[in-house]
Symmetry: C2
Subunit: 302 residues, 2 copies
């Protein structure tokens, strides 16, 4: 006879695609509702600055454009040559800061090495920083008592994924591996604001396994396929995978995408796991659009 305690834990693959779809459908409805209410043809408009010819950047930008148009918004792409100067990009950002028709400004990262990424990002006005990556937005996010204008998209995707699946964050031990400005650092801060005990691990961490095996929630953003393995996680934990690694294969495309988590093995031990593709990735674009609509709404209310 099977007693209740013996029922094996449910293993759940978290569906970021469905949540992203719910978010974007909600945004579409919201835009239409507000256009009717304010009798306006105004649309949320995102200005996307792309520098150089990286194929991935062009693809990401174009994906954002499609998604933005799908909800009834506008996305304008400004392409700069690889050799563009700081001054040229700065001028464009400063114009867009002043342009009332622009609700969000995004600089597609990474920038060519000749440009100082942080200095360029910090030119974006706080109110149009829909990526949430300027110093001032990160400072607001990091401290207590300040309201955050925009949360960075990828870390917010993780927090929403956890909340959507009813996974408790408060009082849990969350281990974040990787300390990028885009993911690791802001995620650490957001998880502590949700009252998790947080640990940040990175390349200098000794005995990483000792940290991850004690974690209730593990977030990995290191850019290494299959980095997190089964023997590094404890039974019943939750794993969020931020990796987007291109692995060559014999398929027609010649490659496939894989995360930083050894999905097949870890999914046998973790109760909840976010897959790649289909986890935080699709949600990140949905949240960017959500930030854009938030910014647009502020304008409508003026």
């Amino acid at each position: 006879m099977m007693i209740e305690d013996e029922v094996p834990n449910e293993r759940v693959t978290m569906d970021g695609v469905q949540i992203a779809k719910n978010i974007t459908e909600g945004l579409k409805t919201e835009i239409e509702r507000l256009q009717n209410r304010f009798s306006t043809t105004s649309k949320p408009k995102l200005l996307c600055i792309n520098v150089g010819n990286r194929i991935e950047s062009r693809t990401y930008t174009s994906n954002k454009q499609k998604a933005c148009e799908k909800i009834g918004g506008l996305l304008e792409i400004i392409n700069f040559e690889e050799t563009a100067t700081y001054e040229q990009i700065a001028q464009t950002i400063e114009q867009a800061n002043k342009d009332d028709s622009v609700n969000g400004i995004l600089v597609q990262l990474p920038l060519p090495k000749s440009l100082n990424e942080c200095s360029i990002l910090d030119l974006i006005s706080e109110e149009k920083d829909v990526d949430g990556l300027t110093s001032i937005n990160i400072g607001r996010l990091t401290t207590k008592g300040r309201s955050t204008t925009f949360y960075p998209c990828a870390p917010l995707a993780a927090v929403l994924l956890l909340k959507n699946y009813g996974i408790e964050i408060s009082g849990k031990h969350a281990v974040v591996i990787g300390r990028s400005n885009l993911v690791g650092i802001p995620l650490l801060m957001m998880l502590q604001k949700e009252n998790a005990t947080v640990t940040l691990c990175h390349t200098y961490t000794h005995n990483l396994r000792e940290f991850t095996r004690n974690a209730d929630i593990i977030a990995v953003a290191v850019g290494k396929p299959g980095f997190l393995k089964e023997d590094m996680v404890k039974e019943g934990c939750t794993v969020i995978d931020f990796g987007i690694n291109v692995v060559p294969d014999n398929s027609e495309k010649g490659f496939h995408l894989t995360g930083d988590v050894d999905y097949n093995s870890v999914s046998q031990t973790a109760n909840y796991i976010s897959p790649v593709p289909g986890g935080v990735g699709p949600m990140t674009v949905a949240i960017l659009l959500s930030n854009l609509v938030l910014s647009w709404k502020q304008t409508l209310r003026l």
Copy 2:
């Protein structure tokens, strides 16, 4: 016969008073040197805004004034009534931002509850934020690739204390207890920038002892006398105590100051421990002055 391995570990009480003295003496010399070099009578000037009649605040402000004058700087105190409005304080800060003779602006915390502390702090221009507590300075501190204008004084005191005693931070596990904007949060970020694996513990942390017993470095800023006890730390660790707790006693003064660490017991197990008083406290004022002189030097070079 005693072999080398059996030599008991040295127990060291870290002397913040001596380091503070070294810093301030260095600053005094530096100011004189620059005044001679630039043939100027200009002095580093700190504007200190004090609101209300809290005795501690008045004492802290007056201590800073004495210390500032000792190195050859100026500290001007502007006192506001408890009932001062946001607008009144904002006007003073904005004037001081524009005043070339003012090199640093400091708002003595805590402010009366009727005032929004963060909004007031964020009025201080980044270049004069010698306390390092504005959103933009915290954002710069938190992320990679940005230069920090001013580090918050108390956390920098801790990092300097560790460095002064040759305590390795890189690759070590540092546990920070308490997540205030002034201490816990910026210290966490500074320790990870020094390549420590960092854990932030707080009131929602379960099994705090499990975290602290695994820590190489423990920093406590919780405002509870004797909070960290011997059974919570591992042999040979380093403990930094940020507590400043007033404990009533039968002495002439009627009270004494004590930290958040049960010093007598923890000092038997930790290799390095910062005492209260005499640890990070005196260093904090020295570092504030060091930030002020840094700001003044920028002005001289214009």
